[in-house]
Structures are given as structure tokens and as C-alpha cells.
């Protein structure tokens, strides 16, 4: 009997985007509010995982053709380089810098070096979570 996945597919299409956008919200909410790269990354990973579960792994692999180890390396590099940039100013490693700017329309926003650091963590978390689960899941033998 062929199983019908219509419900799952329809819901996944909607829900995964909601999760994705919420994860991006969480990511930017970080630093001064609950949220940040780690939790945002986990949310993104769960959205992508939902896609993997409801559709075929091979199909999604075509849509998201990322090499996860490379993403991990890139994410780690971003975090290290963000930390290293404080050495330029003669401060200890990982010193944080921030500044408030007034941007038209958006109002006052805060630019901080914690953001690229978090971005690196976000990439690492997404890649590691997916890599672990896919590695276990893909072994059919």
C-alpha cells in the first residue's frame, strides 16, 4: 500500500518557513535578550530536519547541496576571526565592541562584534546538528 504523505507535506511546507523565520528572529534577538546563535541555529536545524523527514533525503540534498563539514569549518573561522580582531586594537582576545547608530526608518540599532561571532556559532550549530542526524540516518546497510 502506498502511504499518502499529503498532510505531512502540506503542513511541512508552511511550518518549516514559520520555524525558519522564527529562528532568524531568535538569532537577531540575541546578546541583550534571550536568543542568539546557538538557539537560532538549533531552530534552523529543526526546520531543515523537518524537510528531510517529510520529503526524501535525496531530494532535499539536491535542494540544499551543502557540504556540512565545510560549513562547520567556515563557522568556526568566523568566530575565531571575530575574536582575533580585538588583537588589532591591542585588547585581549574576544573583547567585544559595540556602537549605536541611527539609521533612517529602522531607528536606533546596535552594531556589535558579537553578531558575527554569533553568526559563526549559528553556522556551526546548524551544520553539526544536521551532520550528526544525517550520518546516523543515511546508513541503510
Amino acid at each position: 500500500m502506498k502511504t499518502n504523505y499529503l498532510m505531512l507535506h502540506t503542513i511541512t511546507r508552511v511550518v518549516s518557513f514559520i520555524i525558519l523565520s522564527f529562528s532568524i528572529f531568535l538569532f537577531f534577538a540575541g546578546h541583550n535578550n534571550p536568543g542568539g546563535g546557538f538557539i537560532g541555529g538549533l531552530m534552523t536545524a529543526s526546520a531543515l530536519l523537518l524537510l528531510y523527514v517529510s520529503f526524501d533525503i535525496k531530494k532535499i540534498r539536491k535542494v540544499i547541496p551543502f557540504n556540512y563539514p565545510v560549513i562547520i569549518a567556515v563557522g568556526l573561522l568566523i568566530t575565531i576571526i571575530t575574536g582575533l580582531n580585538s588583537l588589532l586594537f591591542g585588547d585581549p582576545f574576544l573583547t567585544q565592541y559595540f556602537e549605536y547608530y541611527n539609521v533612517p526608518i529602522l531607528g536606533e540599532i546596535e552594531l556589535t562584534t558579537a553578531l558575527p561571532f554569533d553568526l559563526g556559532i549559528y553556522l556551526v550549530v546548524v551544520a553539526i546538528a544536521l551532520l550528526i542526524i544525517l550520518t546516523i540516518a543515511e546508513d541503510d546497510s
Binding site: N32, I128, I132, T135, I136, D139
Partner: protein, 112 residues
């Protein structure tokens, strides 16, 4: 509340001890997972359960919770997550190679 948490920790530790002493690979892994939960819960309890606002900018409260244990536990959880994933894959591979998940049969002799 502390008493309840400590009792929970005790139950977790005893269950995990039982699981660690069983012969099945997967149960041992589960025992490690439960033990890590017990350790984290104990950390939270030992640092003192306090009422207070989260220690964030913009919260104007009379008292704040101690953020340090929470940060440490989060770190420990992430590490535990990594180790658990590794252990699961390792036990799966061990099972595949040895065709058994019985630790009694995985003892091996002293000289080989």
C-alpha cells in the same frame, strides 16, 4: 523545592547506575545520558534555587537570578550532546562489526 530536586537527582543517578551496569550497549549509553542529566540538575540545585529576573539589560527587578550556573550547565549540556552523539554512532558501529550488543561477549581476552 530543593528537597524535591535532590530526590529527583537521586532517582536519576540510581536509574543511570542500574543502566550502566546492564549488558546492552544502548542501555549503557542511556545510562550515561541520564547521569549527565543528573549532574546538570545537581549543579542547578547546588547553586541555589532563587527567584529573580533574568540578568539582562532592561530588566529592572529587585533581585536577579545567578546566571553563572545556567551558563555552565548550558556548556555542559552542549558537550554532553556531542559526546552522546559520538557514543551512539560508536555503539552502532560496534554492534555492526561485532554482530552483538552484549557487553559480556565484548569483553575480549587480555592477550590478543
Amino acid at each position: 523545592m530543593e528537597i524535591l530536586m535532590i530526590l529527583t537527582v537521586g532517582v536519576l543517578v540510581s536509574v543511570s547506575t542500574y543502566l550502566l551496569l546492564t549488558k546492552s550497549l544502548l542501555r549503557v549509553v542511556l545510562g550515561i545520558v541520564l547521569l549527565s542529566h543528573a549532574a546538570h540538575l545537581l549543579f542547578l540545585t547546588m547553586a541555589g534555587l532563587k527567584e529573580g529576573a533574568p540578568p539582562l539589560l532592561g530588566e529592572e527587578a529587585a533581585s536577579y537570578a545567578d546566571p553563572l550556573p545556567q551558563a555552565l550547565i548550558l556548556t555542559a549540556i552542549v558537550i554532553g550532546f556531542g559526546v552522546t552523539a559520538f557514543l551512539l554512532v560508536l555503539s552502532y558501529r560496534t554492534y555492526k562489526e561485532h554482530k552483538t550488543d552484549d557487553l559480556e561477549k565484548l569483553r575480549g581476552s587480555a592477550d590478543e
